[in-house]
């Protein structure tokens, strides 16, 4: 007991605090850097196996993504969906919940947005139609997320299995509805929506011409800010994080953990559902089977590499979007499938590096005692 008061004396607090902060930053940044290095080496091997020079392939990758306005626009477009799904997964992980259902929630959100835009009269003002379509996406994704929350809180069903199974159920259900009732003949998509489209960047800036980047990106950035504020500045966010750190202690501290689980998974589902508006409201203006193209699963990678922090999520989303757009840019030299290998390696390496880096840093003299 007496040692606790000694530690709290003003002289000893600041260096320990500074050391802790440094450790936390290193813990957050080192794993992605290690993963990036591993991916670069693996990438070199793959490129060499195809008889190309790594330097020129990587240069081509950068020129085709951040090097011109169209490529940059496509990176932004792909990153937008990933920010939503990445935020969704990371919000769940902050509460100790693994939401693997982002793929299905994303599809449900996109479908609901398209349906809203289809049902609204064509004359609906944009200022009414867009919020309604956005709300529909959030509600649909949220409903899909709510189910595993209730099953976990009420019956103790593990959310990982339930969300995986729900992905298949939701996608099959949507396929049925679209195929049996809503598709335009000869296609796998719904009719074009009558209201609710949002403008692309190319309508303000000519340079973006041809790219699908749209103002949903700005919405995603604002939402990342809101999620950060919620997590770190509100009571609900505190309850959520406390539940994630130690559910029994949180329960003992007066937090109703079951309620937090249900609310968090519903919110997480709503965030993933909102991702659907990027494609539906901002790009195609209809729902199409498989439009998510794995963005839900990649959201897990984004959350992991972004270390479950909204700022990290945005950066990681840009990184993974650069990789997938970069794959198209280098396809003339190396098959674009190379980036899929790299994505998988990055996830694996980050997952393995996180506990290892923590262990090594905690062994550093002076920190362990703090």
């Amino acid at each position: 007991m007496s040692s606790a008061t000694e530690v709290a004396s003003p002289e000893s607090v600041s260096p320990v605090r500074a050391g802790r902060w440094r450790t936390r930053v290193e813990e957050a940044i080192l794993p992605p850097l290690i993963a990036l290095l591993i991916a670069l080496v693996a990438g070199d091997i793959l490129i060499l196996s195809f008889g190309q020079s790594p330097g020129s392939v990587y240069r081509m990758l950068l020129e085709g993504t951040w090097g011109n306005a169209y490529g940059f626009g496509q990176v932004i477009f792909k990153a937008t969906t990933l920010i939503f799904t990445g935020l969704a997964v990371s919000l769940g992980l902050r509460a100790g919940l693994f939401n693997i259902g982002a793929e299905g929630q994303l599809a449900a959100g996109g479908f609901a947005a398209a349906l809203a835009g289809l049902l609204l009269p064509g004359a609906t003002p944009t200022l009414i139609a867009v919020p309604l379509a956005v709300l529909a996406a959030a509600l649909a994704g949220g409903a899909v997320g709510w189910v595993p929350g209730v099953l976990k809180a009420r019956f103790g069903a593990h959310e990982v299995i339930v969300t995986i199974m729900l992905n298949f159920i939701v996608l099959a259900l949507l396929n049925y509805v679209v195929a049996a009732h809503l598709h335009v003949s000869e296609t796998l998509h719904t009719p074009e929506m009558r209201a609710g489209a949002v403008p692309r960047f190319s309508s303000f800036l000519e340079a973006f011409h041809g790219s699908a980047a749209n103002i949903t990106f700005l919405f995603a950035l604002v939402l990342a800010g809101i999620v950060a504020w919620f997590l770190f500045r509100t009571r609900g966010g505190y309850d959520l994080r406390a539940t994630g750190l130690q559910p029994d202690a949180a329960e003992y501290g007066g937090i109703r953990v079951g309620g937090v689980w249900i609310r968090t998974l519903a919110l997480s589902g709503a965030l993933a559902g909102l991702g659907g508006i990027n494609y539906v409201l901002g790009y195609k203006h209809y729902y199409e089977e498989g439009f998510g193209a794995g963005a839900g699963f990649l959201g897990i990678a984004v959350a992991l590499v972004g270390r479950n922090h909204p700022v990290g999520v945005v950066l990681a989303a840009l990184f993974f979007a650069t990789l997938s757009q970069g794959g198209l840019a280098i396809h003339a030299l190396v098959p674009k499938q190379m980036v899929e290998v790299l994505q998988g390696l990055v996830i694996l390496a980050v997952a393995a590096a996180v506990p290892e880096v923590r262990r090594v840093l905690r062994m550093r003299p002076g920190i362990a005692a703090a």
Partner: protein, 293 residues
């Protein structure tokens, strides 16, 4: 349709599930979450086609497939046991990685983005009778035997006892002198090989590799494991049940009796119902997902 043909069709569909479910039960009983079954299967399918293509022998293909499953099983084990990475993330990463690797090497080896050329398999469906063709395929027998064999290993051998101990209470197992990481390494490596054999069967049965050909079968196997409450025999029965539903759906196609999407949902809905405990709750091994410290 004759009953024998129906049965043959059910077995044909069930074999990949049986292999993968056997592998999954083994890993999960040892306390390692098994989300990579899909990836193991796909790696087995691709390696089998590579092996069969270059050697002309399906046996070499089978061997290559098993080695691929072993390799990815070891990757899973090293990441989740040695480095204590989150087992769920590792599983998902392996699935994504295998999709990427098979696509990349499909390009490199066969210059195609969709499928490989035709390769030699065990059975020739050209004989016309799928029942007889199945009987002549050694992988069909291996798949059917994998479940009783696994039951025997899990409940009648020291290795099986160790696996169960490690999955239920690693600390107690450690106290008794069992080397927990070593048992888990073995279980996960075997799980990779078993699941990969499901992929080998699939690819050699179709005499080629097509991009993403496992098409979620690893997850159906996972559903069977949970629906079977982590028991090898029950999981095997669940595999047959799911395969029978699929066979019925194929038979009913065109009659518009039930939309095919609803039949596809059956395994997943049943799994959720089983997890929620409507009949009898499905309870996982106690230390599932926990790394030993």
């Amino acid at each position: 349709m004759r009953f024998v043909d129906f049965l043959a069709q059910v077995i044909r569909i069930a074999i990949p599930y049986l292999f993968a479910a056997a592998g999954g039960v083994m890993a999960e009983k040892a306390g390692v979450v098994s989300l990579a079954l899909e990836g193991f299967m796909l790696s087995g399918a691709f390696a089998a086609v590579l092996g069969s293509f270059y050697s002309g022998s399906p046996w070499i293909g089978l061997l290559c497939g098993i080695v691929a499953g072993l390799l990815f099983g070891l990757v899973h084990a090293v990441a989740s046991i040695r480095y204590r990475a989150d087992q769920i993330v590792v599983g998902i990463a392996i699935n994504l990685l295998v999709i990427g690797i098979t696509r990349f090497f499909l390009r490199l080896a066969f210059d195609s983005s969709s499928n490989s050329p035709r390769v030699a398999g065990f059975s020739e469906p050209a004989q016309g009778n799928i029942f007889l063709a199945s009987l002549s395929n050694p992988l069909v027998w291996a798949g059917l035997l994998s479940v009783p064999l696994l039951t025997w290993v899990m409940y009648r051998t020291p290795f099986g006892l160790r696996i169960r101990a490690v999955g239920e209470h690693p600390e107690a197992a450690e106290t008794l002198g069992i080397r927990v990481p070593r048992v888990r390494y073995g279980a996960v490596a075997l799980s990779g090989m078993l699941a990969a054999m499901g992929g080998v069967y699939l690819a050699l049965d179709q005499h080629q590799f097509t991009d993403g050909m496992t098409a979620g079968r690893g997850f159906i196997a996972l559903a069977a494991i949970i629906f079977g409450r982590w028991d090898p025999a029950r999981a095997g029965i669940a595999c047959l049940l799911f395969a029978a539903a699929e066979t019925l759906q194929i038979q009913l196609q065109g009659t518009q009796a039930i939309p095919s999407q609803f039949v596809q949902m059956i395994p997943y809905v049943l799994t959720i119902v089983a997890l929620a405990g409507v009949v009898k709750r499905s309870v996982p091994p106690a230390a599932l997902g926990r790394s030993a410290d």
